[in-house]
């Protein structure tokens, strides 16, 4: 196992410290917990956005804490849900009196632990709402999930709900747009190689020299099909058509597109895939309003990618375009800088 780490059991702690050291202007850690919060709480009290999940998906989620997106991210062990006591610390550190929205990816461990944390929060009279992201159209149930898995589309939830909260909307409104994103985002991925959980020390699965797995999850959960390596054109069709059929997206729709790298797929290849997905969508009469290409939600050093589409309306367009400043995603404001 070739990894830039010290002790395998301490990777989450060390990663958090390195993240905060790099972004000490934006982020801080809640002392004694694996919780990252914004350094400067907004002056105006606003709805707080809290998320979390297993580590190993960096920059998700701590990389999205900051103005215009999340208020706190809770980091579990690699590919394991954080426990409720960690989550409740995130909730308490983030909340500003207008309630908290929990953004949860649909994995049974996450669901159970966030559920419990919500109960703890309610005991302390913090009002909490939740949305569960389940954008992955690949499989109905999976190793860690009942129902669909939540993958890269989650970043759109962070962005849109974060912008709404930043505008001062109340908890119901923030939840409404978060749920709107969940209802309108679909994703599908594929993997070309396994990753190694530091504490395990060996790959979780293996693929032949010429084999890829369509629909594999971001922890290596089984997908729908093992097949030979495809061209970027074929791959874009396989992934995008599954995504399109599902909502379904229709001719005339406007969408946001995310091409997400799982860890070791070069940006060059992500751009090539993006070219083909754009062409495919153009053929189908679907208009891409905004595109994100990069490693937004990874699976350690797994090689592979996912394609996410979010169907947009005017409200979602405005919120998606709003400014944000986080370690992993910064968007400038459209106006001028004074």
């Amino acid at each position: 196992m070739k990894k830039i780490i010290n002790i395998a059991d301490e990777v989450v702690n060390d990663m958090i410290e390195g993240l905060v050291a790099a972004n000490s202007n934006l982020l801080k850690r809640v002392d004694g917990f694996n919780v990252i919060v914004r350094k400067n709480k907004s002056d105006n009290d606003k709805v707080a956005l809290v998320t979390g999940g297993g580590s190993g998906h960096e920059p998700a989620h701590a990389g999205y804490v900051g103005e215009g997106m999340l208020d706190a991210a809770v980091c579990g062990n690699v590919f394991a849900s954080p426990s409720p006591d960690q989550i409740i610390e995130g909730i308490k550190a983030a909340e500003m009196g207008k309630g908290v929205l929990l953004i949860i990816k649909n994995y049974s461990g996450d669901i159970m632990n966030f559920d419990m944390a919500r109960e703890l929060a309610e005991m302390e009279d913090i009002s909490v709402e939740t949305v569960v992201v389940n954008d992955d159209v690949a499989v109905e149930d999976s190793t860690y999930t009942t129902g669909r898995r939540g993958i890269a589309g989650t970043v759109f939830v962070h962005k849109v709900a974060g912008a709404m909260a930043e505008k001062g909307a109340d908890l119901a409104e923030v939840k409404r747009v978060a749920q709107k994103v969940v209802d309108n985002v679909r994703s599908m991925g594929m993997a070309m190689s396994s990753c190694i959980i530091p504490a395990v020390g060996k790959p979780g699965f293996s693929l032949g020299d010429d084999e890829v797995e369509i629909g594999m999850g971001i922890h290596g959960e089984p997908g729908v099909e093992r097949t030979s390596v495809k061209s970027a054109v074929e791959l874009s069709e396989i992934l995008t058509s599954r995504v399109l059929e599902d909502l379904p997206f229709k001719e005339g729709d406007e969408v946001a597109l995310m091409i997400n790298g799982l860890g070791s797929t070069p940006l060059m290849e992500q751009y090539i895939l993006n070219r083909e997905v754009h062409r495919f969508l153009t053929e189908k009469g679907i208009k891409v309003y905004r595109t994100y290409v990069g490693n937004y939600m990874t699976a350690l050093e797994m090689s592979g990618c996912s394609v996410s589409l979010l169907k947009l309306d005017e409200e979602l367009k405005e919120l998606l375009g709003a400014p944000a400043e986080t370690a992993a995603l910064t968007q400038r404001c459209k106006g001028v800088c004074k």
Partner: protein, 211 residues
């Protein structure tokens, strides 16, 4: 017969020992049906309880039980952490204010814990989980005290019902948790969570009987 704080502390220590001694068996069961970490998870959790015993022994019983739940939850993490954590925390809520426990308290605690696990994990009896131990054990305990059996006797029938429940998971197919995703759904193997839950009931019952 009455259960004191010291009794509870003793039972917890004995559960920790029981788990520690069964490393291979539990690991093998979770390797066959899940991802192989259930023993490591539970052992880590109960080691933590033993480490914290000095802090626990100054607490009132309900706070002590709640704290055990919190410790399991935060130390273990993942699924079984929050499931066992929920069970203990819910159990603590039905004995608010008590400084000793009687057989009715024990029954209500078992019921509350069971309900906690079922709500949290959305599983039910027959799904090949720890519930398949706790559900019959709790029911048997309740039925026993309703028939005016004493604590000693109720603990014994509960243990036996739990044991049978645990064994019954061998022939079940999983519908929740990791085993569900296997081709054979874990068929032919006892569920590891059902075993660790049985250990708790067994240790408790034996303690009561020997007291």
């Amino acid at each position: 017969m009455i259960i004191t704080r010291d009794d509870i502390l003793e039972v917890l220590k004995k559960i920790a020992t029981k788990i520690e001694e069964n490393r291979e068996y539990i690991t093998d069961l979770d390797s066959a049906t899940g991802d192989g970490d259930h023993w490591a998870n539970m052992n880590m959790g109960f080691k933590k309880i033993v480490d914290e015993i000095d802090n626990l022994k100054v607490l009132e019983i309900p706070e002590l039980i709640k704290k055990v739940g919190m410790l399991l939850m935060s130390t273990i993490g993942g699924s079984s952490g929050v499931l066992y954590g929920t069970a203990f925390i819910r159990a603590s809520q039905v004995i608010a204010g008590k400084s000793e426990l009687d057989k009715n308290d024990i029954s209500r605690m078992m019921e509350a814990g069971l309900e906690g696990i079922m709500t949290r994990g959305k599983a039910k009896p027959g799904d090949k989980t720890m519930i398949d131990t706790l559900f019959p054990a709790s029911n048997a305990f309740k039925a026993a005290i309703e028939s005016d059996l004493n604590l000693h006797e109720a603990a014994n029938v509960s243990k036996e019902a739990g044991y049978n429940g645990m064994l019954s998971t061998k022939d079940m197919s999983a519908t929740k948790g990791r085993a569900f995703y296997q081709a054979n759904k874990g068929l032919g193997h006892i569920d590891p969570g059902a075993v660790t839950l049985y250990y708790m009931i067994e240790v408790f019952s034996d303690y009561i009987v020997n007291k």
